[in-house]
Structures are given as C-alpha cells and as structure tokens.
C-alpha cells in the first residue's frame, strides 16, 4: 500500500475572491512608490527615495493619520504585551529559560514568571533554580503570554495562568505571524474534536481536547498515553488545512480553520496538500467566510 504522486510543476496562483492583487494599491513590493505627497511620516517598512515614500518590504500599506507603514507578509514576530505565543525552549539558564518564539532575538521566561507545580505561591529558592530542568527542558514547547518587551525588542514571557505552560502531545505548525488574526482568545476547543492554540507568533499548536485538566500539576504534567486514532486523524487534517490556508495567504482564526476543515472532509487527509485539492478547499473556505460575513 504505497502511494507516490509525481507530476510536472505548475505555475501556482493564489485563489482569491477579492480584487486581484495587481489592482490593489494597498499591496506593495520593495521599491514601489507609496506616495509622492511629502505630508506623510515615514513608518516601518518604508523609506524616502527622491522625496517619494517607498516600500522596503513586501506587504500591506497601513495608514494611521499621517503615519504610513508597510506590514510585511513574511516576517519575524514583533511581539507586543499581551500576545499569546507558542515557543520552544532553546536554553536553560540561571533563573530563566530562553525561548525561540520566531522573534529576531530569543525570548526569556523568568523562573519568577512561572507558576510552580502545585500552584505554590512563594519566593523562588536556590533549590528551585536547580530543578528548573525538571519542569521545562531544552526542546520542550510552551504556551505563554508576552509580559513585557525589552529595549532591544526581546520579549519577556510569563505563564502565570493555568491556560499557559508546558505543552504535551500534539503537532506544531509554523506559519508566518502576519497570517494570524488577532482575536479576543487564541485558545479554542474546536467542535471537530481537537484544540488549537493560534500563537500570535505564527506557531500554532494542535492537540487533542483533554478532559478535566489535572490542575494540581500546575501545567507541568504531560500525559504520554497514546492519543486515539480518530483524534490523530482530526489533528492531522487540521494540520494540513492550516498549511493549505497559509499557502493561499488566508488569515487564520477559529472560523477560517473550521470552515477549511469542513471543506476538506471529502478528501483523504494525505491528499489535502496536493495543489489542486488545496486550491479547491481554500476556495470553498473563502466562499463560506464571505457568505457568513455578508
């Protein structure tokens, strides 16, 4: 039972129900003149060339009063206080963990910014410092919130809520942070049977919806019991749907993910990433989203 799908490459086109990108003046590539009006201020992603405000990155033009910025489509994560992130521990240091959050610099998670197992509230002792690796070690994934931004742009994270902490079994999908739609909540228990954390940093975590969380563990306990086959299938389908949506540059949030999931159901999970299937289900998703809005 072996499958191999070989084919000639085709020129990929982005399917969209809105105006084609060439007619949209708010989409620019580096070197495009945004305006020659000198009354505007030069924001991120722009520079002034010969008195003309010019784009330095490919993305969407945004205007706030007199300030013009270009938000790049493909970018590292520029975190802000309150953002939900999913990150991977790269280093365990004294009193802090270093975390890869797809930012330009590694983020830090201070020992004093995590809940201790059992939810104990007390000063961190030297003993805690020595057992840091028992809680979270290199390679582990965590979900966290941005607590503050240092002057060099590096992020300080915290996990002082039961919804944050070490992640257990599941699948990580990495996409561009610009495709994550900002929402009230980035944690969702999807009705299709799996849960999702849409990190603002473009790291998306898919995991089986758990029953009653073991609150005593304070976010450090991870179950290594096998995940059931139906749950796996849902997670794999969601994973491929996320990649399909990202490939067609569709904003990710609970509704778009769910609509894409529903649109994909007539296909086998492993077929979703074939170009023509991808195009088809993303098209269906966009139609559903439009219908829901209108």
């Amino acid at each position: 039972s072996m499958a191999v799908d070989m084919r000639l490459p085709t020129v990929k086109k982005t399917m969209t129900l809105s105006a084609p990108a060439v007619y949209r003046k708010d989409l620019v590539v580096p070197g495009d003149v945004i305006t020659s009006d000198t009354g505007f201020m030069r924001g991120h992603g722009t520079y002034v060339d010969d008195d003309k405000l010019t784009a330095s990155v490919a993305g969407k033009v945004q205007r706030v009063d007199k300030l013009i910025c270009v938000r790049p489509l493909k970018t590292r994560f520029n975190g802000e206080v309150g953002d939900v992130v999913v990150g991977r521990i790269t280093e365990v240091q004294q009193k802090r963990w270093k975390v890869d959050t797809n930012s330009r610099l590694d983020s830090v998670l201070l020992l004093s910014s995590v809940n201790l197992p059992g939810g104990e509230l007390r000063r961190r002792s030297a003993e805690d410092e020595l057992t840091m690796r028992k809680y979270i070690q290199e390679g582990d994934l965590i979900s966290a919130e941005v607590q503050s931004v240092f002057s060099d742009g590096a992020l300080s994270l915290h996990t002082r809520s039961l919804k944050y902490g070490k992640l257990g079994q599941g699948v990580l999908v990495q996409i561009s942070p610009s495709l994550i739609k900002r929402q009230k909540t980035h944690f969702h228990n999807l009705p299709c049977g799996a849960s999702i954390i849409l990190g603002n940093n473009g790291f998306v975590w898919l995991y089986p919806t758990l029953g009653q969380q073991d609150e005593e563990a304070g976010g450090f306990y991870t179950s290594l019991e096998p995940v059931s086959l139906p749950d796996r299938e849902v997670i794999s389908r969601l994973r491929n749907c996320l990649l399909a949506l990202a490939a067609q540059k569709v904003l990710l949030y609970d509704t778009s993910v769910l609509y894409c999931y529903e649109s994909s159901l007539q296909h086998q999970v492993k077929d979703i990433l074939k170009p023509e299937v991808m195009e088809e289900i993303v098209m269906l998703t966009q139609q559903k989203l439009l219908a829901q809005e209108g």
């Binding site: 072996m2 191999v4 085709t10 389908r237 491929n240 492993k270």
Partner: protein, 291 residues
C-alpha cells in the same frame, strides 16, 4: 544536516502515529509526499532536472565532457559526482558546514553507480583507451526538508534521461592519428539509457516500524536509517546504514524488503512522467524557479 528539535511529548506522538500507520501529515508508512519534477531547467548543462519533495528541493545538472578512460576499463566512460550543499538550503551549510554531508552524499552516489547494472558505461566510450565521455553529475541542494537521498536519486535519473550528448565522428588522418569531430547539428545527439538507473529509498526506523520519505521531525525520532538503491526490476545496487544507532538483522531484512518493493514502484511513474514531459516538447509550460 538540517536538524529540528522535538520535545519528548512530540516524539511520543509521532511514534504512536507511525505505530498506527497514520503519520502527522496523514500519510501511511510507505507513502511519499507530493513530488514535482521538471527537466531541462539549466540551459548551460547537457541535461538537468529539478525535484521538489515536500519542501526539499534539489537541482541536478549533467555535463558531458571528453576525457581519458580509466586504465583498467579502457572501453568505458565514467561518471563523476559532486554534491554542493548550498547555504541557501540551511544556514548550517554556511562556510564549510555542508562539506561533510556533501562528501557523504557523493560517496553514496559513487557506490550506487559502481556496478554494471545501473548504467551502460560502454555507450560512453568513444575510442577505447583514448577517449570517452565523462558525465559530471552536479547536485545542488536548494532546500532541505528531509529525505535528501531519495530526492537526489530521482533528480539524477531525470537529469540523465534529459541528457543529450553530441554525436562524434572519428576520422583518421594520413599519419594514422585520430581526430574527433563533434556533430554540428544540435539535434544529432545520443541519449543515455536510464532504464536501469536505480532510485534510492531511505527507510527510517522509528520505534518498532520504519517509514519512507521521513520528515525532519520523524528523522529526529529515529536513530538509524537504511539506504537502498533499487533498479526497476528490483536489483539492489547499494545498501547502507546511516545514523548513529544500530539495526537488528530482522529489521534490516524487513526494511530491505520494503525498500525493494517501494523502490521498484518508483520507476514506472517517474519514467511515465519524463516521457510525458518530453512528448509535450514545445507546448510545455516552463515553471523553473519563480514559483
């Protein structure tokens, strides 16, 4: 080699998935990812091919040059392999970072082709003992997303299929010296018979099972892989174990059987695609690198 990190819990998840024949991307243990193949992509080569497998991308160029046959085999031409691990593929290849991997890959390629079954080297002979064709097979890694060996072998087969070697006329002058003359007509060329060129199948042992076309995440869960080069009729021309771990004889046997079956099955669709592409000739839409 491009490596990724996975946590213990992720490993457990991947392992159980493979045990149940449902991998993270929905594939079964013997499924390949979506593969795209295009030949004749580099104009200054005699044959070339680009293969993408998942996000792995390799480019192979073949150049034919006239050289001197090896002394022990005067009536055969030969192949030279070079693998370039571009720093475009991963920052780890920067400087001399990709050298070791490149040497390993080219050593395997020499091994795969060092037999009478893979390629008819007699056809590359021009005049025994004096002149022969040398095919320089240059592999460039453009992106690494796991399973380099398989992608490279398929790209090589495609590039060799695409290779057009000019015909030569040998004339002898009055003093008995020989003169080699290349045909002026660009369409007057010789093709390489690639029927028996093997494809490499990498079998990655993960837990108690093995998978083909492992992703980087799956590879991170594995301690050892088996590389098997298989021709279209199931002849194994090379097999090699890679990775730090060990394999027990029983799993080597099982993996070889799977490799043989999977490897055999790769050739037919590949040849069909190459012939289909060639039959399009001028109607073919070239995609190249801008997509």
């Amino acid at each position: 080699m491009a490596t990724v990190q996975v946590s213990e819990a992720e490993k457990v998840y991947i392992l159980h998935g493979i045990r149940d024949d449902l991998r993270v991307d929905g594939r079964g243990c013997e499924d390949y990812r979506h593969m795209e193949i295009e030949t004749d992509v580099v104009s200054n080569t005699d044959g070339s091919a680009k293969v993408t497998l998942g996000h792995t991308a390799v480019l192979v160029g073949v150049k034919a040059e006239i050289g001197k046959p090896r002394p022990m085999i005067p009536n055969e031409g030969y192949l030279e392999f070079f693998v370039d691990c571009s720093a475009n593929a991963t920052p780890e290849f920067e400087g001399r970072g990709g050298e070791e991997l490149g040497t390993n890959l080219s050593n395997v390629l020499y091994k795969v082709f060092s037999n009478k079954h893979s390629l008819d080297l007699h056809s590359l002979s021009i005049s025994p003992g004096e002149h022969c064709w040398v095919l320089y097979v240059d592999v460039l890694l453009l992106q690494c997303d796991g399973n380099l060996y398989d992608a490279i072998s398929i790209a090589i087969k495609a590039a060799l299929f695409n290779t057009k070697i000019p015909r030569v006329n040998i004339t002898s002058d009055d003093e008995g010296g020989k003169e080699i003359e290349l045909s002026d007509d660009p369409y007057d060329c010789m093709r390489v018979n690639v029927e028996n060129v093997p494809c490499i199948v990498t079998l990655c042992k993960v837990g108690h099972r093995h998978v083909v076309d492992a992703t980087l995440q799956e590879k991170a869960c594995s301690v050892a892989s088996l590389i098997i080069a298989v021709t279209h009729n199931g002849t194994i021309t090379c097999s090699r174990k890679v990775g730090g771990g060990s394999l027990d004889p029983e799993s080597i046997f099982e993996m070889t059987e799977t490799g043989k079956r999977v490897g055999k099955a790769l050739h037919a669709p590949l040849m069909k695609l190459l012939q289909q592409e060639e039959s399009l000739s001028k109607k073919r839409v070239r995609v190249g690198f801008l997509c």
